[in-house]
C-alpha cells in the first residue's frame, strides 16, 4: 500500500487550465462586444492580447527567465484591458496599456503570482491618467441602441448621465425605468468594450464559479455591497438611481466578477475574501457618489489589492492552536 502525507484530495488543476478556463468564461462578453460595438471591438481586443503575450515573451526571453508567456494569464490581461477601453480608442491605446500592464505591473514585480495589482487594472489606470480625453470623452452608441440606454438621450453613458445630468427631470423620470434597466442588463448601452453586458458577463462567471476557478464570495460581496449601499443612498436621496441601476451600469459586473476575483491579487481565506469584496463595493459607491469620476470600480479594486497581504492574516484558527 502506498501511504503519503496530506493533502489526500487532489485536483488536476494547473495554471494553464485555470487561465484558459477564464479565457473561455470571457468569450460570451467578447462575442457580445462584437455584436454591440462592431468588429473594431474584436480588433482592439486582438491588438491588446497580442501585445500582452508578446511583451511577456520578450521580457522573459531577454532576461533569460522561464518562458510562461503562453500560460494564458497574459491573454486574460490583454482581454480585460481591452474590455476596459472605449471602442473609439485609437489602435495604440490598448497596445500601450497592455505593454504597461504586463511589463510594469506584472513582470517587474516578479511575474505571475507576485504582482500586487491586477495588471489589467493597473494598465487601465495608466491609460486613464495619461489620456483622459480618450478614456472618458469618446463614447459611442451600440449598433442597435443609444449611448444612454434611453431613447432620445444620446449625450452620455448611463453613469455620465447620473453624474452630469442628474437634476434634469427628463433623465430623472426614466433613469430607473424598465427600459433603462433592460438595456443595462443586456448591454445595449454605451461604455467600455466589454463592460456593458451584465448578462453575458454573468454567464461566463457562473462557469467560473461552477469550475471553482473564481470565488463567488468576492463577487457576491462586491456586487451585493454596491446593491445595498446604492439602495441606502437611493432611499436617503444621495443618488437618484436605484440599486439595480447601480449594479448593472458601468463596470460593476466586469470588475466584481472577473477582476476582483483574480487569484493572484485577492486574499486566500474565505473571511478575507468577504472583507475584500465588501470593502471594494463600498469604495466603488463612495467614488460614484462623492468622487470626481462617474465610475469607481477600477480604483476600488486597485485600492483593495493593496490590502491583500493584510487581509491574508485574517485566517481561521489552526487546528490544535494554543492560545498564548
Amino acid at each position: 500500500m502506498y501511504i503519503s502525507s496530506s493533502p489526500h484530495i487532489r485536483k488536476d488543476w494547473n495554471v494553464k487550465k485555470i487561465m484558459y478556463g477564464v479565457v473561455i468564461a470571457l468569450m460570451p462578453a467578447f462575442i457580445g462586444s462584437i455584436y454591440f460595438f462592431g468588429w473594431r471591438a474584436a480588433y482592439l481586443t486582438f491588438l491588446s492580447v497580442v501585445t500582452a503575450v508578446l511583451t511577456e515573451y520578450l521580457f522573459q526571453k531577454i532576461t533569460k527567465r522561464k518562458i510562461t508567456a503562453f500560460d494564458g494569464s497574459a491573454i486574460i490581461t490583454g482581454i480585460l484591458l481591452a474590455f476596459n477601453i472605449p471602442v473609439k480608442s485609437p489602435w495604440w491605446l490598448p497596445v500601450v496599456g497592455s505593454f504597461f500592464a504586463i511589463l510594469v505591473a506584472k513582470q517587474f514585480f516578479g511575474g505571475l503570482g507576485y504582482n500586487i495589482f491586477n495588471p489589467a487594472l493597473a494598465g487601465r489606470a495608466f491609460v486613464m491618467a495619461s489620456w483622459p480625453q480618450i478614456m472618458t470623452g469618446r463614447w459611442s452608441a451600440p449598433l442597435h441602441g443609444s449611448i444612454s440606454g434611453i431613447d432620445g438621450i444620446t449625450s452620455a453613458t448611463p453613469l455620465n448621465l447620473l453624474k452630469l445630468h442628474a437634476t434634469d427631470p427628463a433623465v430623472l423620470s426614466r433613469i430607473n425605468s424598465p427600459e433603462m434597466l433592460k438595456n443595462l442588463f443586456i448591454g445595449n448601452v454605451g461604455g467600455c468594450i466589454g463592460e456593458t453586458s451584465a448578462l453575458l458577463l454573468l454567464i461566463g462567471a457562473i462557469f467560473l464559479f461552477v469550475m471553482r476557478y473564481a470565488d463567488w464570495r468576492i463577487s457576491v460581496g462586491y456586487i451585493g455591497t454596491v446593491f445595498v449601499v446604492a439602495w441606502i443612498f437611493y432611499l436617503t436621496g444621495l443618488t437618484p438611481a436605484g440599486p439595480l441601476f447601480h449594479i448593472l451600469s458601468g463596470g460593476v459586473f466586469l470588475g466584481g466578477l472577473f477582476m476582483a476575483t483574480d487569484m493572484v491579487t485577492s486574499p486566500v481565506t474565505p473571511a478575507g475574501r468577504w472583507i475584500f469584496g465588501i470593502a471594494g463595493g463600498l469604495i466603488c459607491m463612495l467614488i460614484r457618489v462623492w468622487g470626481g469620476y462617474p465610475e469607481g470600480v477600477s480604483y476600488s479594486i486597485l485600492f483593495m489589492n493593496m490590502f491583500v497581504p493584510l487581509l491574508d492574516r485574517v485566517r481561521p484558527k489552526y487546528l490544535g492552536e494554543v492560545k498564548k
Partner: protein
C-alpha cells in the same frame, strides 16, 4: 581629495543611491528646466552651507548643532529665494513652495551633519559641490524623461522658449500625461534606481 567630489556624483548619489531628498526630486522634476533650476539652487545652498558649517565646526556646540545648521541653511535659502523671485519669476512660481523647503532638504542637512561638521573646509566644499551636482544630474535626467514623455517637449521655459519638440506633432496631441503626474515621478525614479543598481552590480561583479 577629488574622490570626495566624485563620490557624491555617482557612488553616493544622494537621490539614486542614498534615496534622500526625494520630496523635491519627485515634485519638481516635471520639466527639465524646473529640475535644472532646483538643482542650481541646491548646489548653491549646499556648497555654502557646507563651507560655513565646516569653518565653524570647532565652535559649534554639539548639543546645539542642528538648530545652528538650520539657521545657516535657511540664510542661503532665503538668498536663493529672493534672487529667484527677482530675476526668474516664472521659475520661482513653478518651483513654488519647494524653494523655501530646501531648508529641510535632507541632502543638505545630511551633508552638514555627516560630512561638513567633521571635515576641513576644502573637502567640505568639494563634497557640497559633488553632492549638489549628483542631485542636479539625477533630477535633470528625471525632468528630461518626464517632460519629453509627458509633454512632448524638452527644456521648455515658462513664459519663454516653448521647448524642443522632440517627439513630433502626433505625440504632442496625445502626450503620456501619466509621466508628469505624481505616479509618473515614482515610476521614473524606480527605473533610474533600478538601472543604477544594475550597473553597480555589474561593475563590481
Amino acid at each position: 581629495m577629488f574622490k570626495t567630489f566624485f563620490e557624491g556624483i555617482v557612488k553616493n548619489n544622494p537621490v539614486l543611491v542614498l534615496a534622500i531628498g526625494l520630496c523635491p526630486t519627485l515634485a519638481v522634476s516635471t520639466s527639465a528646466f524646473n529640475a535644472l533650476g532646483m538643482g542650481a539652487a541646491v548646489i548653491f545652498v549646499l556648497t555654502f552651507s557646507n563651507l560655513i558649517v565646516s569653518s565653524f565646526r570647532k565652535v559649534i556646540p554639539d548639543s546645539l548643532r542642528i538648530p545652528i545648521f538650520i539657521i545657516v541653511i535657511s540664510t542661503f535659502v532665503t538668498i536663493v529665494d529672493y534672487v529667484m523671485k527677482a530675476y526668474l519669476p516664472g521659475l520661482s512660481k513653478n518651483l513654488g513652495v519647494f524653494v523655501p523647503l530646501i531648508v529641510v532638504n535632507c541632502i543638505i542637512l545630511g551633508r552638514a551633519e555627516g560630512f561638513a561638521y567633521k571635515n576641513p573646509v576644502g573637502k567640505a566644499i568639494l563634497d557640497g559641490l559633488g553632492s549638489g551636482i549628483g542631485f542636479t544630474l539625477a533630477i535633470f535626467i528625471m525632468g528630461t524623461i518626464r517632460e519629453i514623455l509627458g509633454q512632448g517637449t524638452w527644456m521648455s521655459i515658462p513664459g519663454g522658449f516653448e521647448g524642443f519638440k522632440v517627439l513630433g506633432q502626433g505625440f504632442l496631441n496625445y502626450p503620456v500625461l501619466f509621466m508628469i503626474l505624481p505616479p509618473g515621478g515614482f515610476l521614473v525614479i524606480a527605473f533610474l534606481m533600478g538601472g543604477m543598481r544594475y550597473f553597480e552590480a555589474r561593475r563590481s561583479a
